[in-house]
């Protein structure tokens, strides 16, 4: 299991490193693909809020997705 996760991490690392080192100028009229809903950071505001509440209630970790919300619902 640990090997699988490390492999995933090792797979993703070059993507991010590549991203940090290779920035191509993109003109305003070349941003059609970037505007596709597929490129959004979350799956929709309401789904992100619900999923965040579920994970925060069941795991020790929270944060990293902007401002926090309120409420408990955490039994």
């Amino acid at each position: 299991m640990k090997t699988v996760v490390l492999n995933i991490a090792l797979f993703m690392l070059p993507l991010w490193l590549h991203g940090c080192t290779a920035i191509e100028p993109v003109s305003a009229w070349e941003r059609g693909y970037l505007a596709d809903p597929a490129m959004q950071w979350d799956r929709g505001k309401r789904e992100a809020k619900f999923a965040g509440h579920v994970y925060t209630s069941k795991e020790a970790s929270s944060g990293g997705a902007g401002a926090a919300g309120g409420g408990c619902g955490c039994n």
Binding site: M12, A22, A28, G32, L34, A38, G64
Partner: protein, 382 residues
Amino acid sequence: MLRTDSRLVRSLGATLTALPAYQSALADAPPAFTEVGLRYSHYSEDSLPEERVIFGSPSRYDIDVTQLWIEAPVGGAWSIALDVQNDAMSGASPWFVGLGLDGEPGVIMSGASIEDNRVEVGVTTRYFWADGNAGLAISHSEEDDYEALSFAFDVAWNSADNSRTWTASASSSNDNVSPVKERIPVFIDEESLNTQSMYFGVSQILSQTKIVRIGLSYTQSEGYLTDPYKFADRRPDTHDKWTLSAGYRQFMVNMDAALQADYRYYHDDWGTDSHTIEIGWHQNLGKHVLAPYLRYYTQGEADFFSPIADRSQPFYADDYRLSSYGALTAGVRWTVQFGDWGIEAQAERYRSNNDWSLFDGDAAPALVDFWRATVGLSWRFD
């Protein structure tokens, strides 16, 4: 009316000339339409295995969640959104962990089924200008034994060429807990908790098909952080948390799809570290979208956690949520847009296991597995 998910718009680049690097809900213009939406979700936890229960029913929590919202443009530079959410909860939860006849830790459940209802009402207003936007949100949440009032402010601004976007947010929550005393013994009448949180992030367009972001957050809580419904639970009255997060999106032109990758590292002053990795695939299929995703989460145990709480210590807890474990989540989301109507459905399975953790630590007998499913409908109009 132009739809940004059409191939025509993509090829023309229409309406996208000012697309900032953060896109999505934070475009630098108010929404073009008023949107009304309704979502219903069901969340259900698996029953505990009989051999791990010393006393009580192995059944756990079920929650029915209803979300209703309306979001509308106001004038030429503002938007306002009203969100209402209702959570109807029922079931039982672990009360404490003891030693079973087999010499292994076992769970004593809270006994009779708990019924509770949480209602949250939130209002968000946002102002848009040429190089960014700023939002202010107020939210109130109330259930039988818990009340929270929170405020949040966020701002995003773009570089001159709109290829880089900085975001910052701050939030504050004032919570009040007054436990219901009918089911199990509790030892407090009323306590409060204050939480402040800050986030700073930057996103960068890398190419016509790639975008990346990174963010830092810090959260501080002060007040009553113990779980009043757990018999063997005593936690510090402060909690400092930090996260470092990163995200990457790459559009695959030939496949009309996108790869989505996210990572978060978490650390807190209770001794817990965690890693979260999520990989998603967003497949456009005409008016339909199919988006499967996988998530792996692993955490180390808190300094004061033990499978059976050591009450001789200043702080102690047997709460499985503070133990060392790993969790795998698999989900799929489907959406379709018919004119002004949008339909969504989603299902997700979550399983956790001490053996899946990257961290050392003793196993908690009450680790949770659950599934959740959602259906939703939205309607846009001028």
